[in-house]
């Protein structure tokens, strides 16, 4: 297990903000550094880099490198990889942590080849001691947990959102901030424009609570009720493959093997029987509530709390009860 032992958090911004998963990386990085015996630093990008450094500092990052160039305000893997490689060299970092987002996965792949580094992708657990580092990740759509060890000097981990607690803000904490100058990288790709999803939607991957609907809703209108419960709980809206294929709701809401993998603290499955392909994406949720007319469906088997009943009779009462108790 040769290689540098310091840990570098690669904090990729999105639309001028740090995604919440970045704050979870601080916790993951401390765990990795405890295993390797190294220090933790972070790398931030773009015109808001100084602000990002402040945010990370408040949450316990001790050292932050900033690449404050407007060229990094949108994500292109080649440019980000060149800057990250320079930071890793300067910090003598042998462990790189990225959020397992679209950008994070894309960047990890580019860095892997650039730094001759192995990648443990979409990991949910970090362990190791005495310099060695290993990680756990899901395979076979959540049916298998694989323990991954590294053979390379440099080790890259992309971390699943919601697997580590976000590092809390601690009063009076600040990071030592150092500007990093990197040569402008030439890239073969560039972001030309962006169109946001519906305003006010909570992203599935970063959601602490998710309310999902399936075939049991009967029709597309059923998602009004799902959205109402989600709104009441401050939850994101999920869906099964069947209803996405039926056109009841957009693909970005799909949870499961061909959709998103989620690990919320609460997953409310409404009228979802629990096909293997759906369970693959959500079975590791901390708490699962199943509402279904079928007491023998697979979702009932894995549910923390199961309610046998019609979603149209159960959910309106759940919504009014929650509102009532909050009002009281």
């Amino acid at each position: 297990m040769a290689g540098e032992k310091n840990v570098l958090i690669v904090a990729v911004p999105q639309r001028g903000a740090l995604p919440p998963a970045v704050f979870e990386l601080i916790t993951a990085a401390k765990k990795a550094a405890a295993a390797t015996g190294g220090t933790v630093s972070a790398l931030v990008f773009g015109t808001k880099a100084a602000d990002f450094a402040k945010q990370l500092g408040e949450r316990g990052a001790e050292k932050v490198l900033t690449v404050s160039d407007a060229a990094y305000d949108s994500f292109v893997d080649e440019a980000y990889a060149a800057a990250t490689a320079a930071a890793a060299k300067q910090e003598a970092a042998g462990v790189l942590l990225l959020a397992a987002s679209v950008a994070g996965r894309s960047l990890a792949a580019r860095l892997s080849v650039l730094l001759k580094a192995g990648v443990a992708a979409e990991i949910c657990e970090i362990s190791g001691s005495g310099g060695a580092l290993s990680a756990k990740r899901y395979q076979y759509g959540g049916n298998i947990v694989a323990e991954v060890a590294f053979k390379s000097d440099v080790k890259i981990l992309t971390v699943q959102p919601m697997c580590f607690e976000a590092a809390p803000v601690e009063a009076g904490k600040a990071a030592q901030t150092t500007p990093l100058s990197v040569p402008a990288a030439s890239a073969g790709a560039q972001v030309a424009s962006f169109k946001a999803d519906e305003a006010g939607e909570i992203d599935l991957g970063a959601a602490e609570r998710i309310v999902s609907g399936g075939r049991g809703l009967g029709n597309a209108d059923g998602f009004k009720l799902i959205r109402e419960l989600a709104h009441t709980l401050g939850a994101a809206v999920g869906a099964s493959r069947a209803v996405v294929d039926a056109g009841w709701i957009a693909y970005r809401h799909q949870v499961g093997l061909t959709g998103r993998t989620v690990h919320p603290k609460l997953y409310v499955a409404c009228g979802i029987s629990g096909q293997i392909q759906h369970l693959a994406g959500m079975a590791s949720s901390a708490n699962i509530v199943a509402v279904n007319t079928d007491p023998a469906c697979p979702m009932m088997d894995i549910a923390t709390l199961g309610v046998v009943g019609d979603v149209y009779e159960v959910l309106p009462v759940v919504i009014s009860e929650i509102k009532k108790r909050r009002g009281a």
């Binding site: 076979y140 323990e147 991954v148 053979k151 073969g188 560039q190 972001v191 061909t258 309610v307 759940v318």
Partner: protein
């Protein structure tokens, strides 16, 4: 101008309901039915659609695997792909995404040398390993641009493409110079089933086979020897604690009890 397309596929277990051999701590793959990785169907379909969009274009399916992986290539041909290449040999056994992408990149480079390649298409990930890294890593080995999570190829010519990249918060339009690698997602199309004509073509298709030496790679650069990670153990996920059925005379009773318990357990 016609496009030269490579679509990378994998022959994977047709199910994700697999069990672990407790003696070896590895997934039991013997006896499982294998097929074309379901996510690759979208990449194959997109290659066929590009052929339809740009007449005269040519698409080659490429995979790395055992001799039996030939079946995934023939499945791709049955869906409208023109040619097939299989990277195979004992030296490739036990690879990870790092060494596998290195070999795939060498094979793409070989095809590129024969006739310039414009696009290399991939599925989102495989249904067995699930890492979703190989597409973008192959691009990195080739030093070509890559775009992952692509839901639409808006326009393409021999020099550049404009694609839609699905992000967590919306959709980016990305302009990319070719040659480039593109990893697709399910939204990009609805794959068609193989045609009868396609099935006939698949039976007759000649599959080109390459070993490490044919690709200019040393044995220590591929398979387990060239891997940067290893899976030390596989196990079933921890079983969930037994759940609780909420009883009640009416749906409203059950709903109230549910809210009680959620609050009591500080879940909401």
């Amino acid at each position: 101008m016609p496009l030269n397309i490579v679509v990378c596929v994998k022959h994977t277990p047709a199910t994700t309901s697999v069990s672990v051999d407790s003696a070896t701590g590895k997934v039991k793959t013997a006896g499982l039915a294998y097929g074309l990785n379901p996510f690759d169907e979208y990449a194959v379909e997109e290659a066929v659609r590009l052929k339809e969009r740009v007449p005269g274009s040519f698409a080659t399916a490429l995979t790395l695997g055992a001799d039996s992986a030939d079946a995934a290539l023939r499945e791709a041909v049955s869906r409208g792909i023109d040619a097939a290449a299989l990277v195979t040999g004992p030296e490739f056994d036990g690879g990870d995404s790092y060494s596998t992408s290195r070999a795939l990149a060498a094979a793409v480079q070989k095809l590129h040398a024969q006739k310039p390649v414009h696009l290399v298409l991939f599925g989102k990930n495989t249904n067995d390993g699930n890492s979703g890294m190989v597409g973008a890593m192959t691009a990195a080995w080739l030093n070509w641009p890559s775009v992952v999570s692509v839901k639409k190829i808006e326009s393409v010519d021999e020099a550049s493409a404009s694609v839609w990249r699905a992000m967590e918060d919306g959709v980016e339009t990305v302009k990319v110079k070719l040659p480039a690698a593109i990893s697709t997602i399910k939204e990009i199309n609805e794959p068609r089933l193989p045609s009868l004509k396609g099935k006939m073509a698949a039976k007759k298709a000649a599959v080109t086979k390459w070993g490490a030496a044919d690709l200019g790679l040393k044995p220590e650069e591929v398979g387990a020897a060239g891997a940067a990670t290893s899976v030390t153990r596989q196990s079933p996920p921890p079983s969930r604690p037994a759940g609780m059925k909420i009883e009640g005379a009416t749906a409203a009773d059950k709903a109230k009890k549910l809210v009680d318990i959620l609050i009591e357990r500080k879940i909401i």
